[in-house]
Subunit: 258 residues, 4 copies
């Protein structure tokens, strides 16, 4: 399997995982920068993520338009991806979705969404809320051109996640596995925080030092990260499409008895 | 496949989708006006929507009675559909259901149900609550004759959705796909609003201009609408029954690179 | 199929439905009075309701003991059923279960559980909370003898449902289909009430006249009741075991056009 | 089947049950002390519990390291198990997991998690909250060495469950079946308590005497305990791996009529 084939397979797996984990439904999408050409990225044509197959993946430029002739319909909101890839050379993968349990935090902004559980640490200490109305007034709330995408990317800044008021979120990460992980645990962190507030009293958020410590230890092909990827792919019925880099997630690295 | 065959198939698909998406259970129903005769509409005989097949679809008049001899039992509440089709010539499709998460908004009326998420925009800015007791006193809460149906239709007015106190909702739209979409996203919007209130602070509802902008862009066979319909049908196990109008949801309409 | 065979089949179906609808899990049970001998009733041996088969059904007396030699283990809490059948000659079927969403109403008694949705009307206007500790002090909370069962039956009185503090509920009805229906909609009514309270403001409960109107219209083999039974049995994978009384749920009884 | 084979099979079943019941996902683990050598215990290699097979089970010492040469990756947090087995000779089985609904009680500590439902009694009257930051400052929140494990075990003390702030819980019991049971009902008890608080008014917790009464009656192979184990294994698709001790869960022990 060529490196490009692997990239396409991984992106299909990511689509199926996000669907199975209720992060996306008919809507929402995930993209991956072309490792051979940082000015291009891969994204499915317009189809529900659960149904994405290899042949649905399209290569787009940083203007959000396809780099080859393309007659099939594309996602209206592909500019979210293009603008984030344009603004953030460090980012390799982007998710945009409407996962239900993050929506309240974009609607009622009295309680900022911050990490309270260890698996939520990768959303980062600060999750800005972008409101398309602030600059664009009354729209259909969709990000349908580069100007809107760039405004969202500006709000995202150097953070990993931005909420989009009344709409959803955009997340960005150093690897495809990481952006999926952030997107799966983001709603879980949101639920934990909402319920902790219902219990009342002081909330113990993750400390900045804890977020940093977790971030330092992260590796996209560590045993622990691969374990989740394999588990999710199995649940989503596409474990046969997994392409495991040589040596990933196999070796015991702790001290050994003989 | 004839135009009428397609209408019947679409209605079966709509039944299955609403069941799979937990909008209906053993109860609740969806109807479609006869495109060839606006004084008739199609509705299943009395059977759970999940189990509806083509042969279960019955043609009814605007008085809620079958237009041909019919020995099978019919839904008691078919008058909801008849009265809305009678009052609203612009309406092509109606849903009545008891989706659990909208019920609290009919029981505790301190918080009106209004759109807070973009996919909830089609419920419209105003969702009236109809209480059968206001005019009919102590009933079994079911709409079992035209007089009750007309009272509900009057409460609905020119809106897209009316809540029914202690019972459920009725939704009405310009197309079958749209009424299904409204009915699927209505409970999601209700959950988002309930949880936003739990977070506290000011709630940002969709602005009227945003609702209008989304409404202007809506088309029942647009790429985006068809994507959801295809996705839901696939989840409901009836994607083989889809009848895609020629050209629907296929063409890329944005700018193209060569 | 003999009348007795039908009774046994129906009881197996009821077990499977209650399991599929999350009313029971490994625990909880449903019983049916012997139509030929009101001093006996049928209940499964000790096995999870989801796994109950015809051969598991045992005939018990109103003392909670098997009427024939029985070497298999029985439910510890069969005395709940025996005591209710003893106290209430009008009752044909009993459920005891721990459905999660009714538990809060037995633990925090500031908000009595009352019907707020039409499908919840059959729980009745008044749902007493029985606390085993009031008379028996510190127990393992289980109803393991006739004395405890009779105390619970006394608390139930002429109502349809009693909550059991920190434990679950017992429901009693005129037919097997009705007791299943009550038990399925009881948690839904509880959720609707809890969420209505979270929205704040005045709660509109069903009026006594509405509860009475619904009760008068109830018939265990009406078209509407049978529709739910058929739907639930299908979901539970046991629609092949349905034994439909001749003529039940088939005829259209409204006015007919020719 | 040898005694050791049975132990391994039971541990595989426990892994699958905890996955099916949403106690663990890609993360979380369950261990069992070696009945032939109390200084050793069994735990899977690093793989999602849902995917654990017999060949994945590894034998570890009370220092958390494998007792034989092992080239496969191990769980980073195996020291939780080692430290609890070291500190508590009475304990035969340990679970560590991140079940979502217990998380709020570790984040907002105004409401201690205590048993409110009879199936929650086995969590014990007192559930301490351990915060890794209290002694170790800013970490990645994982228990990755014996020093951290011992600090957690000290916080657990003689209790059955300790919550871990922003992370999850550790539970410990006299048998594998019991630790699974505690871990399954712990989140249910948490949900019941959270919702009871939402209803307002006084909360009726289980009395100490009730917890004691339930504890006295517990037996890992009683009819009632086995019923749940069999039910859960069936749901998890591994009932074929059940190894039922002779006579467990079969005999009717109450009075018998002839």
């Amino acid at each position: 399997m060529s490196a490009l084939d692997r990239v396409i397979s991984d992106l299909v797996v990511a689509n199926r995982i996000l669907a199975r984990e209720d992060v996306v439904d008919a809507y929402g999408h995930v993209s991956l920068r072309n490792p051979d050409n940082p000015k291009h990225f891969f994204l499915s044509r317009s189809v529900a993520p659960e149904l994405v197959e290899r042949g649905d993946i399209v290569e787009l430029g940083l203007d959000g338009e396809p780099v080859r002739e393309e007659r099939r319909a594309l996602y209206l909101e592909r500019f979210i991806h293009a603008a984030i890839f344009e603004a953030r050379p460090d980012i390799q993968a982007v998710v945009h979705a409407h996962a239900e349990d993050i929506l309240p935090f974009g609607i009622a902004q009295a309680t900022p969404l911050r990490p309270v559980i260890h698996s939520g640490s990768f959303i980062g200490a600060n999750v800005p809320v972008w409101d398309i109305a602030d600059r664009f007034g009354d729209t259909n709330l969709l990000v349908t051109n580069m100007e809107q995408g760039r405004d969202l990317a500006k709000s995202l800044g150097q953070n990993n996640v931005a909420l989009m008021r009344g709409h959803g979120f955009a997340s960005a990460a150093r690897s495809l596995i990481e952006v999926v992980r952030i997107s799966v645990y983001l709603p879980r962190n949101a639920r934990a925080l909402l319920r902790a507030k219902q219990l009342g009293g002081e909330i113990k958020y993750l400390a900045q030092g804890e977020i940093d410590a977790r971030n330092r230890g992260y590796s996209p092909y560590s045993t622990e990260t691969w374990r989740a990827w394999e588990y999710w792919a199995n649940k989503a019925g596409c474990s046969h499409m997994l392409t495991k880099p040589t040596g990933a997630g196999t070796a015991h690295q702790g001290p050994q008895k003989k």
